[in-house]
């Protein structure tokens, strides 16, 4: 899409929005059936944004988060006081309908704040992954930790540090010499676009709540069916000491590399585990008209060490990455807010024979500034501009991208 057509679409969006009355004429209530035992809601987010030749905003579905038409339909079916089935299907850019969530929630004791969820469950780790719905994200882009594609792949491995360093900044489509030979996107630190499958338990006790889960994939590569006979264990502790303040910490560890890639390396020595280990801390504070969010994640991938080609150096595992995200929103007047986010990813150093010592992927940073205007309670127009910069790689090292998004929910 050219810049001209982007502008035209944005202009069309603005005209449509300007024509809409401020009065609440669109239905905003979820559809309730069977005396409220079945509820269905929907979220539609249409984003029109600049071209992204630097692939800063591409997601693990190979779509740019700034040029995305996303439709979600969620449903809850209550079967008595103890059981609820929850599901969500999603389509992006009118592609295939994907089951995003499907799980059974069991509350063994109705008087106690304790639940077990089984199936494709919400992410235990981190804070943002459960707030990806467009009406809960004050901007259009995602935090880098949940969206930016690194050069790590679960099914394909670099043979050496040199090969890994050659791929810096190419996470949107990367090919390695070991494992799956097909070029494919790498993974983000935490996937906000897929949920993992397994069992999750949650308990609340006063101002504290704890959640633990055992799932088939990892936070960066959630799966429906396992690819390595391993289970990820994740936990989250959340404190709400006063109204408006949420403090959270999360940890997760699970086998990351697919069996097919491990076999290709032939590094199946006892005790070897090729895991993703992550720790996160987050805080949210809101009061009056402002909302502040902070989140940091430290993640490390341990990869199999392949026989190193001549005159190249082996990878010094683990490959670590640290993310930092700070976000704020302020309501300027009823229905109108301004928001900003700063986030960055920094990668640990790896030494190659040719390139020398460099971060294993190109460090990337983003500043996004924007705002939203509620045309109606459940019809929101967002606009944002983001400045991306990347320290390395063959692609564009910086890009200023603009986008507009229309969000409707019921």
């Amino acid at each position: 899409m050219s810049a001209g057509s982007t502008a035209a679409r944005v202009a069309w969006l603005l005209v449509v929005c300007a024509g809409a009355a401020r009065a609440q004429t669109l239905p905003s209530e979820p559809i309730a059936l069977a005396d409220g035992r079945v509820t269905v809601s929907g979220d539609v987010a249409a984003s029109f944004g600049s071209k992204d030749p630097g692939f800063f905003d591409y997601t693990d579905y190979e779509h740019s988060a700034l040029r995305l038409m996303r439709i979600d339909v969620s449903a809850a079916v209550k079967a008595g006081p103890h059981f609820t089935v929850l599901a969500e299907v999603r389509t992006e850019n009118f592609g295939r309908l994907e089951p995003y969530a499907l799980f059974l929630r069991v509350r063994p004791w109705t008087a106690r704040d304790f639940d077990i969820q089984v199936g494709r469950v919400p992410p235990t780790f981190g804070a943002f992954a459960r707030h990806t719905y467009a009406n809960d994200n004050p901007l259009i882009g995602y935090p880098l930790a949940y969206q930016y594609l690194t050069t790590v792949r679960p099914d394909a491995l670099p043979a050496s540090a040199d090969e890994l360093l050659r791929k810096r900044g190419l996470g949107w489509l990367v090919r390695y010499s070991i494992g799956n030979p097909v070029a494919a996107p790498g993974v983000p630190l935490v996937s906000a676009f897929r949920w993992d499958t397994g069992v999750q338990a949650h308990a609340g006790l006063g101002m504290a709540s704890m959640t633990a889960s055992v799932t088939t994939g990892t936070i960066s590569n959630p799966l429906v069916t396992d690819d390595n006979d391993g289970r990820q264990v994740a936990g989250r502790l959340e404190l709400r000491p006063v109204a408006g303040l949420v403090l959270g910490t999360s940890a997760a560890r699970g086998p990351f590399v697919a069996q097919s890639a491990v076999r290709a390396v032939d590094d199946m020595q006892p005790g070897n585990s090729f895991t993703q280990t992550a720790w996160g801390a987050d805080a949210e504070y809101s009061r009056g008209y402002y909302l502040l969010r902070f989140e940091t994640i430290v993640s490390a991938w341990t990869l199999p060490v392949a026989p190193t080609p001549p005159q190249q150096l082996p990878i010094t595992s683990p490959l670590s990455v640290v993310s930092l995200s700070v976000e704020g929103r302020y309501k300027l007047r009823p229905g109108l807010y301004a928001a900003a986010r700063y986030d960055r990813l920094t990668f640990s150093d790896v030494t190659g024979a040719v390139a020398g010592t460099l971060p294993w992927d190109a460090p990337v940073a983003r500043v996004e500034v924007g705002g939203g205007y509620a045309i109606q309670r459940n019809l929101l127009l967002k606009v944002s501009v983001q400045r991306n910069s990347r320290d390395g790689g063959p692609l564009e090292r910086s890009a200023t991208l603009g986008a507009a998004q229309l969000v409707f929910w019921f």
């Binding site: 609440q24 209530e29 309730a32 929850l86 704040d113 919400p122 109204a243 009061r287 009056g288 008209y289």
Partner: protein, 240 residues
């Protein structure tokens, strides 16, 4: 005619003129009072009363499916959707005189606005206290009154003054299932029904008025009520 007789006649004429003037003034005052129903209302007002029957099942807004939640949300109170508002479509002249403006309260309790519907006169200030342990954020984008009170915790309250007549839809920005109505009138002739749907509008000046019942965004047909001097007018409504 002697002088005393002329004096007496003149005195009679003056007395007659004074009496005539006084009678004229009183007559004018009487006619004027007849032309002003509100003045008469203070003396001989009537009442419109009756019942509003709801022939449809209003259901409270359900929570959106909490697919992203870790557990079952806490139980909440359900709003009372059976309350209707009955009001005069056109009020007597003089009923629109500026009121001092009182206070009304719409509490936020257990994820519900209580009461779910309030009817007030223009100039009234509504307090929105938060009685829950967590934040609420009351707002409205209604044309009648647009406001956003921000997030505030338990024990705190924010207020909004309503100066224009109309219907104001109130929401919580944090809990999407929370909603309520504030009906603002420029006259005092309205009433909120009780749990059985009964209403009573007092102090209505004698006359014939169009009366409407409202429930959850649905209006009844306008009905005519003839209010007799100091009497009652019975008027029932059905809202489908």
């Amino acid at each position: 005619m002697d002088a005393p007789t002329r004096l007496r006649q003149r005195a009679h004429a003056v007395l007659a003129a004074v009496v005539s003037f006084v009678c004229l003034v009183f007559s004018a005052a009487f006619v004027s009072s007849m032309a002003r129903p509100d003045a008469a209302a203070a003396a001989r007002s009537g009442t419109i009363r009756g019942r509003v029957e709801l022939r449809r099942t209003a259901t409270p807004t359900e929570r959106r499916p909490g697919v992203g939640d870790f557990g079952t949300p806490a139980a909440r109170d359900l709003p009372d959707l059976l309350r209707s508002v009955v009001y005069l479509e056109s009020a007597p002249r003089g009923a629109f005189e500026a009121s001092e403006g009182g206070h009304a309260v719409m509490d936020q309790r257990n994820e519900t606005f209580v009461p779910h519907v309030i009817a007030i006169m223009t100039g009234t200030t509504v307090d929105f206290p938060n009685s829950d342990k967590f934040y609420h954020n009351v707002f409205s984008l209604s044309k009648t009154r647009t406001f956003d009170l921000g997030r505030y915790a338990a024990g705190h309250s924010q207020s909004v003054r309503f100066d224009r007549p109309g219907i104001v839809r109130v929401f919580c920005d944090i809990h999407s299932h929370m909603n309520a109505f504030v009906l603002v009138f420029s006259h005092p002739f309205f009433a909120v029904t009780d749990a059985e749907g009964r209403y009573r509008i007092d102090n209505v000046p004698p006359g014939t008025y169009g009366v409407i019942a409202w429930n959850e965004g649905t209006w009844s047909e306008t009905k005519q009520a003839s209010v007799p001097d100091g009497g009652f007018s019975e008027l029932d409504f059905a809202i489908r």
